[in-house]
């Protein structure tokens, strides 16, 4: 099975190389049959990589420790549901998983684009084959997951890292990869369109759709990563501005900017250069993030071990950057805007500022992430850039973004009148101010949380008004309110799906704002000792111990009292994993809509040998996870084709443009 897997991987590499070279030859020399055979080769990469991945999984489940990767990352006692996670837990396996996801995406994209984009498909196939060939080169010759141990097969493996033995790790990496790698498809379409000098509307739709899919996966992947950190790392938080977290956040920011500015291209034929730049930058940042994670240039709890693989990524990044710049400057005239900005108070301006803030935030995060490397190169000393830096720069930027989230959808395309501004903004603005004022009255004094809650109320009010305005009209024609809301959403799924996404983002913002009010207490908790945190009184009840083939556990039993009555019993514990010889704290969490009680058994005091308990009270944190679910729901709604309204609007817009071109130009 090991030999079969290795050969399948080699075959995939040969097919990808053929897809690249024959595709270029076929297109360059206008040989249709050669180009067609190259496309078929590109399609066949997927079954070949899938065969390799299935082989590796088979070896993992059969505990074949003659394969070095499996000996390092698995063991006999590992539960079967964690054995899937072995596939992406190490450098070699995760690169194979990367190739598998890319091959799967390419397979679907090439199969579905044949009829709609026959002109682009051959070039898209070549570009995707090029990306695939790079990763398969690494899989085959630099970091092969099928390498065997030269002498002697160990009786058991070293086991999976305890930090990865969680349910979240079975889904977080695959979903994050689906987001990361998904941006390869819009990149391939955008690059192909620029090479072929295609006007914007021919390729922008497919690019936007694929970007939305990738963006949704990336969003969920990032939030799941935060959820894993919260549940597993035991420091009471979910986001630490870790370089690897930042690496995932950077393409999310540029991808978000693209999903907004792309509307300007679709509706007004503007910002074509900018959009191409954003999609190129997003793809570049996904590869750059991979380089950060895998090269060892930065230290992170999420990073893989230091290796020479970073040099290959640097070379690939140079090739991608050079190719994008060359193609862009060669064909930039084809990206000329059809229309102009007419007013600073317009939807276009809103998008412009939205993009500006997102990109400045992306730059600040990138800068903070690479500054340790820069400082080491310049001063010879690696300076750490931590939470304070990122918070100080990003909090005001994201608050401004929150403001734009409320303002943007209320502005009309081209120009917004003063009367319309007053009509649409008065109530939401008053509600926002009233919310902040009431909170001040209730004793809240921190400026950022006040602004954040006020803006959240403002945005929710604007979105509710948007839904209410449309639903009221439909309801007046005899529909019930829920039916009217459903009908309204289905008429323009993109618009109302977007609003639902904004509601999810606001819920996430409220959850993040709650962290300004976190509390924590740490103390020794021997039998019958008590601890007070917020309205909770914690009473140490007892200890318990357990043992199974994979790990042994010791747990403290904590009774939780609130207002004099017992509300829960919690079991913060510590596991000792036998195969890897590592211990891991298991957090106990009591989650409620308004706050989480989060208990960590921090081990014994070295002097007194008494158990130490670290308790955290984290307000509003569950709003983040709920917000992420709302974002996913909104994205799914936005991906559903609209019923009639959108297509008829596009048709009438096209007819109007044809009928009165001079007005459009003059306007």
């Amino acid at each position: 099975m090991q030999i079969f897997g290795a050969y399948a991987l080699l075959l995939a590499f040969v097919l990808a190389c053929y897809g690249l070279v024959a595709g270029l030859v076929g297109l360059g020399l206008q040989r249709a049959r050669v180009a067609a055979s190259a496309q078929r080769a590109s399609l066949m990469v997927f079954p070949a990589v899938a065969a390799a991945a299935v082989s590796l999984l088979g070896l993992i489940f059969h505990n074949d420790f003659s394969v070095a990767y499996i000996a390092e990352h698995s063991n006999r006692a590992l539960p079967f549901y964690y054995k899937f996670a072995v596939l992406w837990s190490g450098q070699e396996g995760s690169l194979l998983f990367w190739s598998l996801v890319l091959a799967g995406y390419s397979f679907i994209a090439l199969l579905t684009s044949g009829r709609k984009h026959p002109g682009l498909r051959p070039l898209v196939a070549v570009i995707l084959s090029g990306i695939q060939a790079f990763f398969l080169l690494l899989n085959n010759f630099v970091a092969s997951p099928f390498s065997t141990i030269p002498v002697g097969t160990p009786a058991d493996g070293s086991g999976l890292n305890p930090l990865l033995q969680y349910t979240q790790m079975d889904i977080h990496p695959p979903i994050l990869y689906l987001g990361y790698i998904g941006f390869s498809i819009p990149f391939a379409f955008a690059l192909a369109a620029v090479i072929k000098k295609m006007p914007g509307d021919r390729w922008i739709q497919v690019t936007r759709l694929w970007s939305m899919v990738a963006w949704a996966f990336l969003t969920v992947g990032i939030v799941l990563g935060g959820y894993w950190a919260y549940k597993v790392l035991g420091w009471g938080g979910y986001w630490a501005w870790d370089p690897v977290e930042n690496a995932a956040f950077l393409p999310w920011l540029t991808g978000t900017a693209f999903l907004h500015s792309v509307m300007m291209q679709e509706k007004r034929g503007m910002l074509k250069v900018w959009n191409v730049g954003l999609i190129f930058a997003t793809f570049f940042l996904t590869i750059f993030g991979t380089f950060l994670t895998r090269s060892g240039v930065i230290s992170s709890v999420h990073a893989f071990a230091q290796s020479s693989i970073g040099n290959y990524f640097v070379a690939f990044l140079f090739v991608v950057a050079a190719l994008c710049l060359f193609v862009f400057f060669l064909n930039r005239k084809a990206l000329k805007s059809d229309n102009q900005l007419e007013s600073t108070v317009s939807r276009e301006s809103g998008f412009l500022f939205n993009n500006f803030v997102l990109l400045v935030a992306a730059f600040a995060i990138l800068w903070g992430t690479i500054f340790p490397v820069l400082s080491e190169a310049i001063q010879g000393e690696k300076i750490t850039v931590g939470r304070e830096f990122f918070d100080r720069i990003n909090v005001p930027l994201f608050l401004f973004l929150l403001f734009l989230t409320g303002v943007g959808p209320l502005l009309a395309w081209r120009r917004t009148s003063v009367g319309s501004l007053r009509r649409n903004f008065l109530w939401p603005a008053l509600l926002g101010v009233a919310t902040a004022g009431t909170l001040i009255g209730l004793g809240m004094r921190q400026p950022y949380p006040l602004v954040s809650f006020g803006l959240s109320a403002f945005v929710i009010a604007t979105i509710t008004m948007e839904f209410g305005r449309g639903a009221r009209v439909l309801a007046s024609h005899g529909r019930s309110l829920p039916a009217a809301l459903l009908h309204l959403t289905l008429r323009n799924t993109r618009r109302y799906g977007g609003y639902i996404i904004h509601i999810g983002i606001i819920l996430i913002a409220i959850g993040i704002t709650g962290s300004a009010f976190n509390k924590d207490v740490e103390a020794a908790m021997p039998y019958q000792a008590t601890m007070q945190i917020g309205s909770y009184k914690l009473v140490s009840q007892s200890y318990t111990q357990d043992d199974n083939p994979n790990y042994s556990t010791e747990a403290e039993i904590i009774q939780v009292q609130q207002n004099g009555r017992t509300v829960a019993t919690m079991y913060p514990s510590r596991r000792f994993y036998k195969a890897s010889n590592q211990a891991q704290s298991m957090v106990a969490i009591r989650s409620r809509p308004l706050e989480d009680l989060y208990l960590v058994y921090a081990g014994d005091d070295p002097n007194t040998h008494q158990p130490i308990l670290h308790a955290y009270l984290n307000p509003l944190i569950s709003w983040i996870w709920i917000g992420a679910l709302v974002v996913v729901f909104g994205t799914l709604v936005a991906l559903v084709p609209s019923r009639g309204a959108d297509s008829s609007r596009r048709q009438s817009a096209a007819q109007a443009q044809e009928a009165a071109p001079e007005v459009a130009v003059a306007g």
Binding site: W235, W367, F371, T384, R387, A412, L442, Q584, V663, A666
Partner: protein, 159 residues
């Protein structure tokens, strides 16, 4: 009316959240505050209060030192300086505001300023471009454009 009621209900929910947080202006403990400005020097680059490496040779001792020095009457700066003396500047979780490290803090704001100038330049450029035809256009064309804009706005707001 119903829409406004729903809006008010949502705002009420927000206020409920705010009520739960009322008066929670308490600052984190000094131990927490100092610990957040330091990182574990074992090489993991995690915060000194966060590092959870098993058998980490540094973190237990560091946390004990932070706890001990947090009880002293020295200022925060002086306490942090004592850690720098002991572990080197790498122990600080953020760049200092001196020398080359100052660049770390300044660059994002420079980017913000330059970006803002770029956006304003872009907006002005488009305004200048459209100024000429607008002046040359006769009243009929202006009215046509106005009607077109109004129709677009009306369309945007209609369901």
């Amino acid at each position: 009316m119903r829409a406004r009621l729903r809006t008010l209900a949502l705002v009420g929910l927000l206020l409920g959240g705010g009520w739960a947080l009322r008066g929670d202006g308490t600052q984190p403990s000094r131990y927490q505050r100092l610990g957040e400005q330091l990182i574990c020097t074992c090489g993991c680059t995690q915060g000194a209060l966060v590092c959870n490496h098993v058998g980490c040779p540094v973190v237990t001792q560091m946390q004990a030192e932070i706890r001990q020095r947090a009880q002293s009457t020295d200022s925060d700066d002086l306490v942090l300086q004592s850690f720098v003396q002991e572990y080197g500047t790498q122990v600080l979780a953020n760049p200092t505001h001196q020398g080359f490290n100052q660049v770390a803090w300044v660059m994002p704001w420079v980017a913000l300023g330059l970006g803002l100038l770029l956006v304003l330049w872009y907006v002005r450029r488009w305004h200048h471009r459209q100024a000429a035809p607008a002046v040359a256009a006769d009243a009929g064309v202006q009215a046509l454009i106005q009607r077109e804009i109004q129709a677009e706005i009306d369309k945007e707001w209609e369901v």
